[in-house]
């Protein structure tokens, strides 16, 4: 089986879709000869030229607007925000324009754009380059929010996002770029709003997003050695959420832990807990649903503090044990 890194899987998706569909173009800061800050667009400008691989000045509101305007007039832009943090500058165009145009125009327009951006901590980039802001977008009807955790999903979800007729916020993780996994050579899509059971287990349901899926998988291996079988679920698309597999799993295991990197307060975990509590899974719960998430602080620069700010394999292991052993 062919293996690719997460970064190369995204890069291959862009190559293939740009070859296949003239309407697709890339736009963002340093995506040309530089190849993007994390190398995702490397080689595209050599293949497709400056017209379809557009380097912009440092103007995030402009990048978002360029995506909205070109999407509404028949193109399929794939914008890149260099670090997710900077999307705060694009918010008006995304929240008040991209997300609402279709609805406000009575369903007569579409905004088929994708805005890619790397989120997350772990690189020592400190408070203004390490944000996990996915829930800002989850809170806006009209936007789709996608967070791939594997190279396979990265490619398939990016192609699905580009094919989709809605604005899609596509959140990558800096620490995942170098991770490897099986990626088919041909073009394929992973459907949006299709929650995946990543690992089966009878004792507890762990719903994790982005890099936390990988950490949960490693935690599950350690826990299996101690006889605890963890079921891991990756929503992949946070909104609109395919909640059914999560509810089914909690009915089976009777316990749930939500793991995400973003700060706990106001995070996606709160939404997931509510979805479970409002469902028939409520009657099957043997323990309180818990959330393991980022501390309610900005990401510190110091390496040790940074490490302790977000969930790690060990913290997932110990939290699962506490829940399963009825210590919470």
């Amino acid at each position: 089986m062919r293996e690719l890194t997460y970064k190369d899987a995204l890069n291959e998706a862009l190559f293939q879709v740009m070859k296949a569909d003239e309407r697709v173009f890339c736009i963002g800061e340093d995506i040309g000869v530089y190849g993007g800050a994390f190398g995702v667009t490397a080689g595209l400008i050599e293949e497709f030229g400056e017209e379809r691989v557009v380097d912009t000045p440092i103007s995030e509101a402009g990048i978002a607007g360029a995506c909205v305007g070109s999407a509404v007039t028949g193109m399929r832009p794939v914008g890149e925000i260099q670090f997710m943090d900077f999307v705060t500058i694009s918010m008006e165009q995304l929240v008040l324009q991209a997300a609402k145009i279709r609805f406000m125009f009575g369903g007569k327009a579409t905004v088929p754009m994708v805005l890619r951006m790397p989120g997350g901590s772990g690189t020592g980039a400190a408070a203004q380059h390490s944000e996990s802001l996915e829930n800002w977008f989850v809170h806006v009807p009209g936007l789709k929010v996608v967070m791939p955790s594997s190279p396979y999903d990265a490619k398939g979800l990016l192609l699905a996002a580009i094919e989709d007729d809605n604005p899609v916020i596509f959140i990558e993780h800096k620490l995942l770029y170098k991770t490897k996994g099986h990626v088919p050579e041909e073009m394929y899509t992973v459907p949006l709003s299709d929650t995946k059971v990543v690992r089966e287990g009878r004792d507890i349901t762990v719903v994790a997003t982005s890099i936390m899926v990988n950490r949960a998988l490693e935690a599950a291996e350690q826990l299996a050695a101690e006889g605890i079988e963890v079921e891991i679920i990756d929503p992949r698309t946070l909104n609109p959420l395919d909640e059914e597999p999560i509810i089914r799993s909690v009915i089976k295991t009777g316990r749930a832990l939500i793991v995400h990197e973003a700060v706990k307060t106001g995070g996606y975990g709160g939404e997931l807990v509510s979805r479970i509590m409002e469902s028939e899974a409520f009657d099957y719960l043997d323990a309180p649903i818990r959330r393991l998430a980022g501390l309610d602080i900005p990401i510190p620069y110091n390496r040790t503090l940074e490490y302790h700010t977000v969930p790690q394999i060990e913290s997932i292991v110990s939290e699962v044990k506490r829940i399963v052993r009825g210590e919470v």
Binding site: E29, D30, G32, V33, Y34, A37, D55, T56, P57, I58, S59, E60, A61, G62, D85, F86, I89, T123, G124, A125, A126, A127, Q128, H129, L295, D296, I297, P298, P300, Y301, N302, R303, T304, L305, H308, T309
Partner: protein
């Protein structure tokens, strides 16, 4: 043609600068370079994580800018800000400790290279966000005005920052309210890989000042005294209540944008070209300092930074039990 060629002594005297002051400025430039070289070395040796933006080649811009400013003025710095901090008078020990993420650093190891601030000395911080400090300058200027002091604020940013919407809003507001702001654009020819030729359709960034009805000046940013002169003029104007100025200092970064930059967007010849106008060598030559003396001074500067490194290395890491501190007042 004038027959009398001014001596460097004349040039300094004309500006009210003593030879000692000039030597101190040269020394600061050398310390900046030594700090940056050490930063690069520490990074290469894996002793720091994250990233850093080195200002090697831009030392005259930093030292010339701070020269006419007073200790009670305010500084809003950029991501490429180590040099400006040192020129502002920051302690290299506390800077190095911050760079190494230590509790003794300016920001207790929470901020790192991109966020070094020293509120006590009115250094309101470097910024990880391009143009992030520019709107803040409006507030600082407004505060100075409301408090009726004659302080000024310098807002430093790169050429790339001038293409953020925040630049436009801020310069306009500072202009209509006559705020005492020095907008200081360090045009080092690139914003990461984006050259100014590709990012602007105006010849000079300073031309944009016209759009806000304020003076705009372009200066050779590798000429320490030239930088000092335009800044002095802008400072006088701001202190007198006549509002902001936009200064564009033409300079060049010798190193890549940050830790990993293959620099495919520029040529070696171009880098060499700029190195031939090295700000430190130029000012040393202007002061008629021979190469032996210059090397002795460089060694002295290196020692200051070595001492800073020793301090930082021996300093403690932040205690994990304090991790939640400092979010709210």
């Amino acid at each position: 043609m004038s027959s009398a060629v001014n001596t460097f002594q004349d040039e300094l005297a004309r500006r009210g600068l003593s030879i000692e002051q000039a030597h101190a400025m040269l020394q600061t430039m050398m310390e900046i370079r030594a700090f940056e070289e050490m930063a690069e070395e520490l990074f290469a040796r894996g002793l720091v994580h994250g990233t850093m933006h080195l200002s090697i080649g831009q030392e005259a811009s930093a030292v010339g800018l701070s020269a006419p400013l007073r200790p009670d003025d305010y500084l809003l710095n950029t991501h490429r800000g180590h040099g400006h901090c040192l020129a502002w008078g920051s302690d290299p020990k506390l800077m190095m400790a911050e760079f190494m993420g230590k509790e003794t650093g300016y920001c207790r190891g929470r901020g790192g290279s991109m966020h070094i601030a020293d509120v006590e000395s009115n250094n309101l911080g470097a910024n990880g966000i391009v143009a992030g400090g520019i709107p803040i300058s409006v507030g600082v200027g407004l505060s100075i005005k409301l408090r009726k002091t004659d302080q000024v604020v310098t807002s430093i940013f790169g050429d790339g920052a001038a293409n953020e919407g925040a630049f436009h809003e801020s310069l306009n507001m500072a202009s209509i309210w006559n705020l005492p702001v020095i907008y200081y654009c360090e045009n080092n020819q690139y914003a990461m890989s984006m050259s100014v030729e590709r990012a602007f359709n105006v010849e000079k960034i300073s031309q944009r000042a016209a759009a806000y009805g304020i003076p705009g000046k372009t200066v050779d940013g590798n000429d320490l005294l030239a930088v000092r002169d335009v800044v002095a003029e802008a400072v006088d104007r701001a202190r007198a209540g006549h509002g902001p100025t936009l200064i564009e200092a033409l300079t060049y970064r010798y190193k890549g944008h940050s830790k990993s930059d293959r620099q495919l967007y520029r040529t070696r010849d171009e880098v060499k070209e700029w190195q031939s106008r090295d700000p430190i060598l130029r000012f040393a030559a202007f002061l008629e300092i021979d190469s032996e003396t210059r090397k002795a001074k460089q060694a002295e500067a290196r020692q200051v930074i070595e001492d800073a490194l020793t301090f930082a290395t021996e300093s403690p890491e932040p205690d994990v039990s304090t991790i939640l501190e400092g979010v709210y007042a």
